[in-house]
Symmetry: C2
Subunit: 165 residues, 2 copies
DNA sequence: TATTGTTATACTCTATAACTATA
DNA sequence: TATAGTTATAGAGTATAACAATA
């Protein structure tokens, strides 16, 4: 386990990385904010999935997912087809227009990072990716607050837990 | 320079790290949201500074800084004394109550990270800190959008640029 | 005239809770 | 009764613009 000073410094850097995220968001098309871009990226990578699965991948509540999805669907970038196996569900899929939008997003993102990180090597970028991925894994589902040393029966759902009765 | 696929993956991980940040925010005291915690942390590290300097350190517009500072000042965690050298400025300083609040924040943050990252070594945490710090440096002041290959005369200010007349 | 800081307004992202329709 | 998804509401964070006081 790492020492306390390192944890405090890591917390500081996590806070500061928001500036980088805002820099990335600033180059997005006007009608495609970061939430929409995240939906398109995940659908591009994971193929046809359901809302609940997308909410898991986004690590946000399904109500949030629903709003983002509605936004990209309204612009014709995805289609929502009924799930034959469960009429409550909808299967999400990128449309050709959505794929074109993805290409534009990749183009802009790559150009920005290539400019800003021009002096980074492949290995350095890969290291950062690896450590950030592991960080996310170590946190698991962060939408449930850690409640103490003994935290039994933690919900790992995608939605607001129902009130205890 | 790194290849395109790495840039796209890095962008994805930057987007996903938001879940970790939300997990950190969730353990903060109710009257001390992330913005307030960032102000306290920076004042703790950098001593007495002015609003404009704090805005630089936060990498946000000074209007945002002003709001965060007003919040922590209203709770007695910092004091704003007039700058004898410039009557427009105010010098910010942590109060004893503010330092106590900082201690509480450090305690909670450290406990959370120690739990989540219990299987990380000092070296691994240090690596992540180092790479995130470098990432932020490589982006510099991200509050100005990158406008193209030839971007002369880029403003590096802490406030909304005045409209060109 | 330019700069420091504040305030008003608008937008994005998120969580909570209530609701529907299916299971 | 429980689950998949939607919508309404509220709170936090941020940027833009207009403003007041001082340089």
């Amino acid at each position: 386990m790492a020492e306390q000073g390192l944890y405090e410094e890591l917390a500081r850097q996590l806070s500061a990385v928001g500036a980088v995220k805002r820099g990335m968001a600033r180059i997005l098309p006007a009608d495609c904010p970061a939430g929409s871009a995240a939906v398109l990226t995940l659908l591009d990578r994971h193929g046809d999935i359901r809302m609940s699965r997308l909410a898991e991948l986004l690590s946000v509540d399904m109500s949030v997912t629903s709003r983002h999805v509605a936004h990209v669907a309204a612009r014709g970038w995805i289609e929502r087809s009924p799930d034959p196996a469960d009429k409550r569900s909808r299967l999400l899929r990128l449309t050709p227009a959505g794929r074109a939008q993805m290409d534009e997003l990749s183009r802009r993102t790559t150009q920005l990072l290539a400019t800003r990180l021009g002096d980074w090597s492949d290995d350095e970028v890969g290291q950062l990716i690896r450590l950030m991925t592991r960080l996310r894994d170590s946190f698991g589902d962060c939408r449930v607050a850690f409640t103490g040393p003994a935290a039994p029966d933690v919900h790992q759902t995608t939605r607001t837990p129902a009130e205890a009765k």
